[in-house]
C-alpha cells in the first residue's frame, strides 16, 4: 500500500496516436489539497478520469488510496468521490432522489440516509430545493448538488474537475470555502483541476502545471511564483529617474534597477521588505514620488512563462527540423 493518497509513475493515457497524458508523475499526500493546472486540452481531465477509474491507463501506473486503478478499481471507487467537469446529473430526478440513490449504490444504511441528506442539503445550501427536479436548478445549484453527490459516502479522496467553471463570484467563493472546510475539518484529500490560477493560489498547498500531457512544474504556489522572477517595485517620480538608480541599487536585497523616463523598475528578493527602504531612499534623494507599487509574480506569470516557453521550444524544434 502506498503512503500517498494519489501516486502516479510515468502515467500515460493514449487515444489512438495522441498521448493525452504522457508520462505524468504525481505524489499527493494524504490530507493535501493539490491543484492541477493547465490550459484546455493539456490532459487535466484525462488524468482525473484515469484516477477515478473511468479510463484505464495506457502505460505507467497509478494508485489512489493505496489501490492500483487498473488492478483494483472497485477498491478505489469505494474511497473516492468526484465532481467532474460537467455536473453529471439526471435532470428529471429530484435532488433528494439523486442523493438517496447515491447512498444506496455506496451501500449506506437506509436508515442513515434521511439524516445524511439533510446534512448534505445544509452543506450545499439546497435544503429547500431538494424536492424539485434537478432540471429546474441553476448552474450553481447543479454544481453544488454534484459536489454533495460526490460527498454522500464520506470519501477519503475528493476529485474536483474545474469545480467553479461557469460559477458567479459569490458561488465560487462558497465552493472555495467548502473545499477548505472539507479539507481542514474532515481531513479529506482534494485533487482539484482548474484553469483559474487564483483558485489554485487560494486553495492549494501544492500545484502541478500540466501542458501537453506532461507536468512542466510542481511546487507550492509561492515557490512556483518565485521561480519565474523577483518581486518588482515600480516607482514613478517627478522628472527624470535615471540618477536615482545607483541610490536604490545600493540598498540590500535589490537585484536590479532599470530607469525608463520617470519610472524606476526595481527587482527585489523580497518586495514587501524592500518597499519601505526604497521609499525612504527616494525621499532622502529629494525625489518627488508620485506612485509606488509592488508587484509580486502570480501563478499567471508562472503559467504563461512555462506554457509559452514550451510552445516556443516546440516551434523552434519544428523549425530546426
Amino acid at each position: 500500500m502506498s503512503d500517498f493518497a494519489i501516486q502516479t509513475e510515468s502515467l500515460v493515457r493514449r487515444f489512438g496516436d495522441f498521448d493525452a497524458v504522457n508520462g505524468v508523475d504525481l505524489q499527493v499526500e494524504k490530507g493535501e489539497i493539490y491543484g492541477f493546472l493547465g490550459p484546455n486540452g493539456a490532459g487535466k481531465s484525462t488524468t482525473v478520469r484515469v484516477l477515478c477509474t473511468l479510463l484505464a491507463p495506457s502505460g505507467g501506473r497509478a494508485t489512489v488510496a493505496g489501490f492500483d486503478v487498473a488492478k483494483r478499481p472497485g477498491d478505489v471507487r469505494l474511497r473516492i468521490g468526484a465532481a467532474l467537469q460537467e455536473a453529471a446529473l439526471d435532470p428529471k430526478q429530484t435532488g433528494r432522489e439523486l442523493l438517496r440513490l447515491q447512498g444506496r449504490l455506496y451501500g449506506l444504511p437506509k436508515q442513515a440516509m434521511p439524516a445524511r441528506i439533510i446534512e448534505l442539503g445544509e452543506l450545499i445550501d439546497l435544503t429547500d430545493a431538494l424536492d424539485r427536479p434537478i432540471g429546474t436548478y441553476s448552474g450553481g445549484m447543479k454544481r453544488r448538488l454534484d459536489l454533495a453527490a460526490a460527498l454522500v459516502h464520506n470519501p477519503e479522496i475528493l476529485f474536483l474537475d474545474e469545480p467553479t467553471t461557469g460559477l458567479d463570484p459569490v458561488s465560487r467563493a462558497a465552493v472555495w470555502s467548502e473545499v477548505r472546510r472539507l479539507n481542514e475539518q474532515l481531513g479529506m484529500t482534494i485533487f482539484l483541476t482548474t484553469q483559474y490560477l487564483e483558485e489554485a493560489d487560494e486553495l492549494c498547498g501544492r500545484v502541478g502545471i500540466i501542458d501537453r500531457g506532461r507536468i512542466v512544474a510542481e511546487g507550492t504556489p509561492d515557490a512556483l511564483k518565485h521561480s519565474v522572477g523577483a518581486d518588482v517595485i515600480i516607482a514613478r517620480v517627478a522628472g527624470d529617474a535615471a540618477h536615482l538608480g545607483p541610490v536604490i541599487m545600493a540598498l540590500p536585497g535589490i537585484q536590479s534597477v532599470e530607469a525608463h523616463g520617470t519610472e524606476l523598475i526595481i527587482a527585489a528578493d523580497n518586495g514587501s521588505a524592500a518597499i519601505s527602504p526604497v521609499a525612504v531612499a527616494l525621499n532622502e534623494s529629494g525625489a518627488a514620488v508620485r506612485e509606488l507599487t509592488l508587484r509580486t509574480p502570480t501563478l499567471d506569470d508562472v503559467f504563461l512563462e512555462l506554457t509559452r516557453t514550451h510552445i516556443e521550444r516546440a516551434d523552434t524544434t519544428e523549425t530546426d527540423r
Binding site: C52, A87, L89, L105, A115, N154
Partner: protein, 278 residues
C-alpha cells in the same frame, strides 16, 4: 452554502453525525433494485415514452376490428376476430417500449459516468433498466386486456392463461428492448435509439397481424414463416382461443429465445464496450 446557522457549521454537524458512514459494495440484487427503482420513478416523468404505444395499440385494436371483422368472420364460422386482434394490439403496445432513451440521455449528460464511479456492478445498470421494462410492459398489457374483456374476449386458459399471456408479452418486450439498449450504449445517440422503430415494421407487419396464416399467400407467407412474431402471435392466440396448446406455446418461447439471444448478446456486448475503460 449555508454558514449562517448558529453554533456548529453544517460541515461540523456532518462530521459529528455522519463520520461513521463508509462506502461498501451494496450487493448485486440491491444494485439491480436501485437502478430499477430509479428507472420506474422516471416512467411517469417520461409519459411520452409510453403514451403513444398504448394509444396506437388501443386505436388499431378498435379500428382493425371495425374494418376487418366482417371480412374475416364471414369465411369461417366461430372465428372471433376480436380475440384474434388482441395479441396484435399487445404487440403494438409493448414492442419497442423501453428505458433505452433514458439510458442514452444518461450517457450524454454524464450521469452514466457518475454511476460508473460508484461500486455498482456494470451488469446491474442494464439489468435494472430491464427489470423496469418488464414491469412497464406488464402494466401496458392491462388496458389492452381490459378493452379486450370489455369487447367480449374470454381466455380458454382462464386466469393462469391471462398471467401467461402477460408474461409472454413482457418477455417479448424485453427481447425487443435489447436492440434499443444495444444502440443506446453503442452510439450514445438519441436519434439512433429512436430509429429502432424501423425494426418494428417488419416484425409486426410481415406476419399474421391482420389475418390468419392460412390467408397469407405468396412471398408474405414465406416471410412470415421466418418472422418470430408469427410464432409469438400464435402462442398468444392459443392461450386465448385454444387452451393450453403446448406446441404453440413452445414455438412462441423458442421465437423469443432466438430473438432474445441476438438482442441480449448485442446489448450486453455494447455495455461491455461502453464500460470497459478502453
Amino acid at each position: 452554502m449555508s454558514t449562517t446557522d448558529a453554533g456548529a457549521s453544517p460541515t461540523d454537524r456532518a462530521k459529528t453525525s455522519s463520520d461513521s458512514l463508509r462506502a461498501r459494495p451494496a450487493g448485486f440484487a440491491h444494485d439491480v433494485a436501485s437502478i430499477a427503482g430509479r428507472a420506474l420513478r422516471g416512467v411517469p416523468r417520461d409519459l411520452e415514452a409510453v403514451t403513444p404505444p398504448i394509444f396506437i395499440a388501443l386505436f388499431f385494436f378498435i379500428v382493425n376490428i371495425a374494418t376487418l371483422e366482417r371480412v374475416t368472420q364471414s369465411g369461417a364460422s366461430g372465428f372471433d376476430y376480436t380475440a384474434f386482434q388482441m395479441p396484435t394490439a399487445i404487440l403494438l403496445g409493448v414492442t419497442g417500449v423501453s428505458r433505452a432513451p433514458a439510458l442514452v440521455l444518461d450517457v450524454q449528460n454524464g450521469y452514466l459516468d457518475r454511476l460508473l464511479m460508484t461500486p455498482i456492478r456494470r451488469l446491474a445498470i442494464l439489468l435494472g433498466h430491464m427489470v423496469a421494462d418488464v414491469t412497464v410492459a406488464m402494466a401496458l398489457t392491462l388496458p389492452i386486456l381490459g378493452l379486450g374483456f370489455a369487447l367480449g374476449v374470454r381466455f380458454e386458459t382462464g386466469v393462469l392463461g391471462v398471467v401467461a399471456f402477460i408474461l409472454l408479452a413482457a418477455l417479448w418486450s424485453l427481447t425487443f428492448a435489447g436492440f434499443g439498449y444495444a444502440i443506446a450504449l453503442k452510439t450514445g445517440n438519441p436519434a439512433a435509439v429512436n430509429s429502432t422503430f424501423l425494426l418494428f415494421f417488419p416484425f409486426l407487419f410481415l406476419t399474421t397481424s391482420y389475418v390468419p396464416r392460412s390467408q397469407l399467400s405468396g412471398w408474405l407467407d414465406t416471410v412470415a414463416s421466418f418472422n418470430p412474431a408469427t410464432y409469438l402471435l400464435e402462442g398468444f392466440r392459443s392461450l386465448v382461443s385454444s387452451g393450453w396448446a403446448w406446441d404453440d406455446l413452445g414455438k412462441a418461447m423458442l421465437a423469443i429465445a432466438v430473438l432474445g439471444s441476438i438482442s441480449m448478446t448485442m446489448c450486453f456486448g455494447a455495455l461491455r464496450g461502453r464500460t470497459k475503460r478502453r
